[in-house]
């Protein structure tokens, strides 16, 4: 029964990745990244049993990934006045097709690596890998600095899911430290995006090309 729940969560995670690849509205993209945070909170809870430590970590992770980050990013988006990522490097239809290939690759990779703990759905590692790939792809293929920021968040989501599925007993201190780092990273990126829009009147990273050679 537990396995069924985790399976469904992971299918939703995969679908959210697919949606991320095909979406252009920034609000929706940010919302999807937050949804992933919530899904991963559920995964962490069901993967490591309901000990007080797991509940604490899931709660902190959920509030940071599901509430704090979306709020931060939405605020940045509002202050910078952007709605959607127009004309990305890779079109949305092509992004989806590349996404299929990435999903196949992560399935193959997940099946080959001897990861994943006993008792956890065998879909978790591939789904986490696919989420990572999606994040990297968003960073590479989108032009708006803020979308790239969301891409980083998605990458981190994937890594978190991977950790929850295959490691389990990372010391509390390290886990909280990593979360703090992630928080600061998103904060720094948000401020950077804000400064870039203030200075350039746009956040098109393709036009950040003064430095080369």
């Amino acid at each position: 029964m537990m396995d069924g729940v985790v399976d469904r969560l992971m299918v939703l995670l995969i679908l959210s990745d697919v949606a991320l690849l095909g979406m252009s509205r920034l609000g929706a993209v940010i919302g999807l990244a937050a949804l992933q945070g919530a899904l991963l909170g559920g995964l962490a809870l069901s993967a490591s049993g309901e000990t007080s430590r797991a509940v604490l970590l899931a709660a902190v992770g959920l509030s940071v990934r599901g509430l704090l980050f979306p709020w931060l990013l939405r605020r940045t988006a509002r202050r910078a006045g952007v709605q959607r990522d127009l004309e990305p490097f890779v079109g949305y239809a092509l992004s989806l097709l590349i996404g299929i290939v990435m999903l196949g690759a992560s399935m193959a990779l997940g099946a080959r690596l001897p990861l994943g703990r006993a008792g956890v759905s065998n879909l978790v590692v591939p789904a986490a890998l696919f989420t990572m790939f999606t994040g990297v792809f968003l960073i590479v293929a989108r032009r708006k600095a803020l979308t790239q920021c969301v891409g980083y968040l998605v990458l981190e989501n994937g890594i978190y899911g991977f950790g929850a599925a295959s490691v389990g007993e990372i010391p509390l201190l390290v886990e909280l430290g990593a979360l703090l780092d992630l928080f600061v990273a998103v904060l720094v990126m948000g401020v950077a995006v804000y400064r870039i829009t203030a200075e350039f009147d746009h956040m098109d990273t393709q036009r950040l090309d003064a430095l080369r050679g």
Binding site: I14, L15, L96, I100, L103
Partner: protein, 298 residues
């Protein structure tokens, strides 16, 4: 066998009802009375009484187009089971033949359109082929995913065992619904109510047909709508419903009508997409089907 034959005949008889149902739903949403439910039958009768007009520039391909298109859909319908029952003809991997029969019908419609030498019809033909190239893989991948999930290879058993509670079937259902809308030229891909618009896909190809030919084309397209609705109903209907045994094809027809209802609701709620965005939506369908397939392979 007799039930399958009965299902088949019911489909042939009731297919023109579907556009009426959809139009009625849309009219309800818009607060209008709408055309009569049987309007499609009246249209068929009117067209059958007229004779065709053929340009001297066209060849036999132009005349063969509507006949082959309609015939291939009828053949495909023979492969399609009503929800939870057997089809008239069924064998392992019959869904591949189904996809190819549909493709064959499309191929001849496109050829007939190109045969007229009209640039407008040529444009419609190009769009039709473009979208089909994205829709067909989605159909095949989706059915393959179901085959994988249910462990069977023929359409009747595959649709009979698919449970919408499994994530794969739900994904395939979503993908098939999108492709259905595209294949049958419904909103958001095409607006069946407008005529002679530059954006049209299917209707743009059949502008030069008239009389019996046009009747065949319309009838073929309604049969195709019935076929797709039956497929979708088969995927999405709960297993408990599918196992109900009735002498008349009650469950199957209800399923098809429910899908028609759904189409009507969708058409009322959303607007037509810009043409450039169409491949995007079809790619989404393909992605959904692929996700279902990959989930099944695991």
């Amino acid at each position: 066998m007799t039930t399958a034959l009965l299902d088949f005949l019911t489909a042939l008889a009731l297919a023109p009802l579907l556009p009426g149902v959809i139009a009625r739903v849309k009219a309800l949403f818009a607060g209008r009375q709408g055309p009569p439910l049987l309007q499609a039958y009246f249209d068929l009768c009117k067209l059958l009484r007229k004779s065709g007009v053929y340009s001297t520039a066209t060849t036999w391909i132009f005349r063969a187009g509507p006949i082959v298109a309609c015939a291939s859909v009828v053949a495909a319908l023979a492969l399609t089971p009503a929800a939870g029952r057997t089809a008239l003809i069924s064998f392992p991997a019959d869904f591949v033949l189904l996809a190819y029969l549909l493709a064959c019908g499309r191929f001849f419609t496109v050829l007939a359109a190109l045969d007229t030498g009209s640039s407008f019809e040529g444009m419609g033909a190009s769009r039709e082929v473009h979208y089909a190239a994205l829709g067909e893989p989605a159909l095949l991948l989706g059915l393959l995913a179901l085959a994988r999930q249910t462990g069977t290879m023929s359409l009747p058993s595959l649709l009979g065992r698919a449970s919408p509670l499994a994530p794969e079937a739900a994904l395939v259902g979503a993908a098939l619904f999108i492709v259905l809308l595209c294949e049958n030229a419904r909103i958001p891909f095409d607006d069946p109510n407008t005529h002679l618009e530059l954006t049209m896909i299917h209707e743009a190809m059949v502008l030069d047909h008239g009389g019996v030919d046009l009747a065949l084309i319309h009838y073929g397209s309604w049969l195709k709508l019935w076929l797709w609705s039956a497929l979708l109903a088969g995927v999405l209907m709960p297993v408990a419903l599918k196992t109900i045994v009735t002498p008349v094809p009650l469950v199957g027809v209800t399923g098809v009508l429910a899908v028609a209802l759904g189409i009507g609701v969708v058409e009322s709620c959303i607007a037509r997409l810009r043409l450039l965005r169409v491949p995007h939506l079809l790619a989404t369908a393909l992605a959904l089907a692929a996700v279902a397939f990959i989930l099944g392979v695991r």
